[in-house]
């Protein structure tokens, strides 16, 4: 039998290890999250920020390279594989989304209708569009929807058979893509608005809503409206 002091020592070491493991689990693991990218102020218009994103059929990086996912561009022009971006309150957010994925019919056609953006229409490769019929043409690849801000934007798909189709991200502008541009208002209060894609695009998951649809950084994210 060990002496009392030795036993006490073991107890202290045990508790120290337990606390260390708990702290590591919390801060090293559970608190981890994709980075939040701050929007860049627009030089031309006042009270406007620019957010540039691209969405790829397969992100190609990280633990799930085959998953679809968004990338957000920072002020230096570098794309980060994340879905969280920060915009100031009471601001017009000018979004540019480069869409590299192929599309298809929507499960619920209601997401083909543009809602909550200024002018009631988005610019798709320069053409104003307010409704996409997803069973025609290339269909809808993804959507950008912020339910609490009432923003719904369908992203028209690219032709999956295009020669320069981007199979694995990050993609660049020389590959087949659609450019979707629109502006929405960030509202009068600070808030974390969730946004998501309403196209069941989690391939290989039942009803397509698993995997990338259920993880931040792929098809689910936050618009962080800050001061």
């Amino acid at each position: 039998m060990l002496s009392k002091g030795a036993r006490a020592g073991f107890v202290f070491v045990g508790f120290a290890i337990a606390i260390g493991v708990i702290l590591f689990a919390v801060f090293g693991y559970l608190r981890s999250s994709p980075p939040a990218i701050a929007a860049t102020a627009a030089s031309s218009q006042p009270n406007t920020v620019n957010v540039v994103m691209q969405v790829d059929g397969a992100v190609g990086v990280g633990p799930h390279p085959t998953w679809v996912g968004y990338w957000v561009r920072d002020a230096q022009g570098v794309y980060h594989q994340t879905t969280i971006f920060k915009v100031p309150e009471r601001t017009h957010v000018h979004m540019t989304i480069y869409e590299y994925d192929s599309g298809g019919p929507l499960r619920n056609e209601v997401w083909g209708k543009v809602q909550g953006v200024q002018g009631g229409a988005v610019s798709l490769n320069g053409t104003p569009v307010s409704l996409i019929n997803s069973s025609a043409g290339n269909g809808v690849a993804h959507t950008f929807v912020v339910p609490q801000l009432g923003v719904t934007v369908p992203l028209y798909g690219v032709n999956g058979n295009a020669k320069n189709f981007c199979n694995v991200g990050p993609c660049n502008l020389s590959e087949a893509h659609n450019t979707i541009q629109f502006t929405f208002y960030s509202g009068n209060t600070t808030h974390n608005y969730r946004w998501q894609c309403f196209v069941p695009c989690g391939l290989g998951f039942l009803t397509g809503n698993g995997g990338p649809m259920q993880n931040l950084g792929y098809m689910a994210g936050f618009v962080q409206v800050v001061k």
Partner: protein
């Protein structure tokens, strides 16, 4: 070991002495608490009186509380009294040797039995009389509202992670917002396009699971105007906590003007929608997931 005989009277006398005090305390407390519940809290009880079913929930909750408060108080007062009076006062002796009492046991069984069966009967009546009490009744409801007047049908389509609403009486249009007319019988047809959700319109007193490929019908009747919140009440994945939206019960005229303008606005979208149906097949192999490797017809 046993209690000294000079310390206490006969078991019956002891029972009368302590029991009388406990009963008096309990009776006074119960009356006060019940009056407070019924008259002070009752008129302000959630979820309010916006619909018949919400008002029904308030009434049922109130009745249950009035019945259960005395039970709670009975255990508390009896327990508190006994623990104080029958504590070991340092004498370290044993308690009164008794292993049961046929009369008390029989009374207890009878009273709990009557109470429980009465509650079940009350609950059954309150379920059937108001047409299912705002609860989802599945595809073929057995308890329907008995007035033959106009019923507004609202289809609630749940999908990960948003409710949308379809209005068969307005050209089958689909909206992301919901408004309802006051003083109107409403029929909710709740269904889902993927996993199980639950349509919970809190102030409307309506709750129905949204099951994929199955219709779930719930009825209510609006009584007051106001704002209500719709929340998903069945865990449905990452955005379950954010799956909510607000709606309004408005006057009939403003409802119809809203509905007709939405119908006009959405005309081009409505043409793209599938034919109105009580449920929709997610068609897993056609769009989206491509989960099943062997594609069946």
């Amino acid at each position: 070991m046993a209690i000294k005989s000079d310390e206490v009277g006969s078991p019956a006398a002891e029972a009368r002495k302590h029991g009388g005090r406990i009963f008096a305390l309990w009776f006074v407390a119960s009356v006060i608490v019940d009056l407070v519940v019924w008259f002070v809290w009752g008129p302000h009880m959630a979820p309010g009186f916006m619909t018949t079913t919400a008002a029904g929930q308030v009434f049922d909750f109130k009745v249950l509380t009035v019945l259960s408060a005395p039970v709670l108080l009975m255990v508390w007062i009896y327990g508190g009294y006994s623990l104080i009076m029958f504590r070991d006062k340092g004498t370290h002796e044993d308690g009164y040797y008794v292993k049961g009492n046929r009369k008390i046991q029989a009374t207890w069984y009878t009273l709990t039995g009557i109470l429980v069966i009465g509650l079940a009967a009350f609950g059954t009546y309150e379920l059937i009389a108001p047409a299912g009490a705002g609860v989802g009744e599945g595809p073929s409801p057995i308890w329907k509202p008995n007035n033959a007047g106009h019923t507004l049908i609202v289809q609630v389509i749940a999908q990960q992670w948003r409710f949308t609403y379809r209005w068969p009486q307005f050209g089958g249009m689909e909206t992301t917002s919901i408004n309802l007319p006051v003083n109107t019988e409403i029929q909710f047809d709740v269904t889902s396009l993927d996993v199980i959700h639950d349509f919970w319109a809190y102030q409307l007193g309506v709750k129905a699971d949204a099951n994929p490929e199955v219709n779930n019908v719930a009825y209510t009747k609006t009584l007051q105007t106001g704002r209500f919140v719709v929340r998903c009440d069945e865990l449905c994945g990452i955005w379950h906590g954010a799956m909510y939206n607000y709606g309004h019960v408005v006057s009939q005229s403003s409802f119809y003007s809203w509905a007709h303008s939405m119908e006009a606005q959405n005309a081009s979208l409505t043409k793209l929608l599938p034919k109105f149906s009580t449920s929709y097949l997610p068609k897993d192999n056609v769009v989206g997931g491509q989960y099943f490797n062997s594609s069946q017809a």
